[in-house]
Symmetry: C2
């Protein structure tokens, strides 16, 4: 049972967002910016980094959700995602993505674990500064999202088909749309920008 | 030296935000919402949770910054902040805040470390569901900010006086103002809200 009085029947981070819409807004905006906005890393690749870190943090809800989002947007589908989570070293991904996943794994342990050699290895495979930055921040952000979901002991369904359905929806609509589900209907204000 | 080409002479997270203003915006909005918006926990108490978690993560920049922000907004000042970081069990704080700091310490290890007993103990001391939620999310968020700052190996000055000066400024102006320093000057648009 969740540690606090979260809405029933709403899974994972979505229940926490419904409980506290004020923080849902920046959390969804951050996910949208990192995982969906224009980027030289594809949406599928970025979701794969999110799924990989969530799996390292053993967060069922986040790893199932972002595995489904990645599978819906990668040519290799769910099988590739599982291979990467099992062993990125042998999975059929680009050397650049493999080097970025190695940085993400270091960030999961702690920021100070990332070495100049890790970064140089990614750069040798063609990673840009922005790609390295975004990998570090995606990995760091999922160390937050995972702790948020598990720290409140949110309800996390075991039925993988639910995640796949949701994965297709979120892959299409994105995270900002998701946050709007939970925001109270607001009267238009005249506060301006 | 930072792992990527961050602006010189700009410390910690501020250099990463200047490098990538797109993500600076949600990151600052999240900090503002969690640490400064209206709340039954005072701003000083919330900054103390942030400083405490950053200290556990051994992130020099974040722990010095948020210690300074907390000191600027707590009656006990810097001495109280140091006592809490050394040993929250013996520091002269309320039992409620002590129980919330214990939850924050569990979140720092991992979300699944938080037990029903930890939460019940905080509730016994008068903590509300929103206070428990916000403590979990503040602790989780600093597991992100700390990894971001250290994962890029940002420049982190050793002179504590710099942090105190900045602490007074941020305590007054907040985090959203801070993010605006880094955003490109934008033409007004007609896109609306």
């Amino acid at each position: 049972m969740p540690h606090i009085d979260l809405p029933e029947g709403v899974p994972g981070i979505r229940s926490a967002m419904a409980f506290r819409p004020e923080t849902a807004e920046p959390l969804c905006l951050l996910a949208e910016t990192l995982l969906r906005n224009e980027n030289s890393l594809s949406r599928g690749e970025r979701e794969l980094i999110a799924a990989y870190v969530s799996n390292l943090n053993e967060c069922r809800y986040c790893q199932s959700s972002h595995s489904a989002f990645a599978a819906a947007q990668l040519e290799g589908g769910g099988e590739l995602v599982e291979q990467v989570k099992r062993d990125p070293a042998s999975a059929p991904i680009t050397p650049k993505l493999r080097a970025l996943l190695a940085i993400a794994a270091k960030v999961q342990v702690g920021g100070r674990s990332v070495t100049s050699e890790d970064v140089e290895a990614a750069r040798q495979e063609g990673a840009t500064d922005i790609e390295i930055h975004d990998t570090v921040l995606i990995a760091a952000a999922f160390c937050m999202y995972n702790r948020y979901v598990d720290g409140l002991d949110t309800w996390q369904p075991h039925d993988e088909e639910l995640y796949r359905q949701r994965g297709r929806k979120t892959a299409k609509e994105g995270y900002v749309t998701m946050s709007k589900e939970y925001l109270p209907q607001q009267e238009p204000t005249t506060q301006g920008a």
